[in-house]
Symmetry: C2
Subunit: 365 residues, 2 copies
């Protein structure tokens, strides 16, 4: 996989595409973040991307992100200033300027917003993230496994409200930030998990921005060659086509700041006569065939792709009649540890299921 | 009315009694705050009480308070450290130490908690407050009328969670702080409305601590002389006995961080055959006789006293069978301005009624 060293205006199309793919249905539409990043790059120049190994041990990394339900983010386009406002609030509390910007989430809007912030703040962006995909809650990052505190955490909205939180642990941080996000109208810009270069070298998932870019390039190249991207993605990413069919029902509700629900897919062609249920909380979390045959479980990645074009489909875009491929990818091995599964396994989300790796679940199909 | 210059352990009984009276049914049980203040005074010495006129114009006043539903406060006894934690968080943000502590609310728990904080922080307490009584929301203070911002505002809970809020206006501050309070388990310690001596001289209601102390002294002296305190309170405070009867029904629910509801009182003796409804949101806000004859309306004070002892009764203590006097007092004249009524008049609380002063409503009774 090719490692990237910078991000230009032109790169953003591939990054948004790759970000939508790793968004696993959630994380917000990267298109908004793409526009924000492109505007910021046009004004301030390209963004330097650095490997975490190149950072000083005492460098200060600050991750920035948007928090909230993707359905709300679509209606509430960020102005661009809020993320900088959150960054500056956190720097003020720390009494120190950031040396680099970081993505906590490699998927969706949060793969692109940090690029806009890095461009505007004229800071390098670290090639990595805390999830290797998108997840719905902010404690669900590799940093939590390594004992790094989400707080102090800064939040900002488009009205000019800001807030600095010092919660006692990362789950409490999520709970406080979530109710504030709802009060901020459903979406907020956040800066959190400040960490040193030394901490980041141990705790982050590396190479995520390069991965996103490569996925975007593959999808686009295959689309241009009139081939479905799923085959090459399977080969190059150890992925698998889990199911193909038509969306026949979507239940979706916004609840406690999240978009929760499930979608029903009736099989087409070689899947004719079979049914798959996708359950989601912002992101796709479970794929269940028939009564109770699990095909993929969080933290493994479940991506929904258009059956014709291979374009990633988010939970909020998905609706009746879409023809889709359900595509699965193994998660980062860090997530399969006990501490990883306690953060992002099926039981955390309230599903009565014991995690099994996607490779095991699909050995015979 | 006698002006006080200090608060000793022995004074706290009168202050808690007077605070319960001005709590107008809400503000939390001052007994908890009395114990906290007595412990702090025992450890650190008596509290100096100063007139606002004696402060330097550039002195920094920081009000501290407890926020939340009184019913929750009863179950969640503060440790004592949380209020200091909120104070220190706010000082850290301001980069300046407080020169004096201030009460935002003259009634209930919030008339006594600042005494504990002043003792512990070894700071003087200003003789005044922002309400002249208790009110349920934090923007409902005279400081709001004078353009003083509630933010930066610090919040702390007993688990060690803290937060600093910078909302764009005082109503937004209330809304954010309220959802955080609910997430903190229903009650939080707060420091907010930092202001200079010059601002305080213009904006605060003066003499509130002296008033509380004098009310407490009157009630206790009359109780000891086996006289009902209502008569002397009427004479000395321009108050009026609005109704006497027995509580026959109480509806109470905790909703959005508030204790809301209403109580029905059936008349006794000279009120026999008549019915009074008291509506409350933490505090008593409306007294309505029969179908729609208003007897008192927020911001005028509605206090519920035990028919025998004259002891103030809070909305959470009140229950079926209590024999009570409903006692009314005119509010501070500042509240009767248009800006005052827009903050705390009946329509703000969702009651379809135009404010009329208690003296007008009861001219003939």
């Amino acid at each position: 996989m090719q490692q990237i060293t910078g991000i230009t205006h032109a790169d953003m199309a591939d990054i948004a595409l790759g970000g939508a793919f790793l968004g696993t249905g959630g994380g917000g539409d990267p298109y908004i973040g793409r526009l924000m990043a492109q505007q910021a790059i046009d004004r301030h120049g390209p963004v330097e991307v650095v490997d975490v190994a190149a950072l000083d041990d005492d460098a200060l990394l600050i991750p920035v992100a948007m928090m909230g339900a993707p359905t709300v983010m679509l209606e509430k386009l960020p102005q661009g200033d809020e993320a900088i406002s959150a960054l500056r609030s956190l720097e003020a509390v720390l009494g120190q300027k950031a040396d680099a910007i970081f993505c906590i989430e490699a998927g969706g809007l949060n793969s692109t917003i940090p690029i806009a912030v890095a461009a505007t703040a004229r800071l390098p962006l670290v090639d990595g993230d805390g999830m290797g995909r998108a997840f719905p809650e902010l404690q669900m990052v590799s940093m939590t496994m390594f004992g790094i505190q989400a707080c102090p955490m800064a939040m900002a909205d488009e009205k000019g409200n800001t807030l600095v939180l010092n919660a006692v642990d990362n789950l409490s941080t999520e709970k406080f930030a979530r109710v504030v996000t709802v009060e901020m109208g459903g979406a907020a810009l956040i800066a959190l998990f400040p960490m040193t270069g030394a901490q980041a070298k141990e705790a982050i998932l590396r190479g995520s921005l390069s991965l996103i870019t490569n996925i975007g390039r593959i999808v686009r190249a295959e689309q241009e060659a009139n081939r479905h991207p799923a085959d090459r993605l399977s080969n190059e990413l150890n992925g698998m086509r889990l199911f193909e069919g038509r969306v026949t029902d979507v239940e979706r509700r916004t609840e406690g700041g999240f978009a929760r629900g499930q979608a029903r897919i009736e099989g087409l062609d070689r899947f004719h006569g079979r049914t798959l249920i996708l359950r989601f909380q912002n992101e796709f979390l479970l794929a269940v065939e028939g009564e109770n045959q699990y095909r993929a479980m969080t933290p493994d990645l479940i991506c929904l792709l258009d059956l014709e074009t291979g374009e990633p489909i988010t939970t909020e875009q998905m609706s009746y009649g879409f023809s889709v491929i359900v595509f699965g990818l193994p998660c980062d091995p860090k997530w399969r540890s006990d501490s990883g599964l306690s953060l992002v396994g099926p039981s955390y989300f309230g599903y009565d299921a014991r995690y099994q790796p996607i490779e095991i679940l699909n050995q015979r199909s």
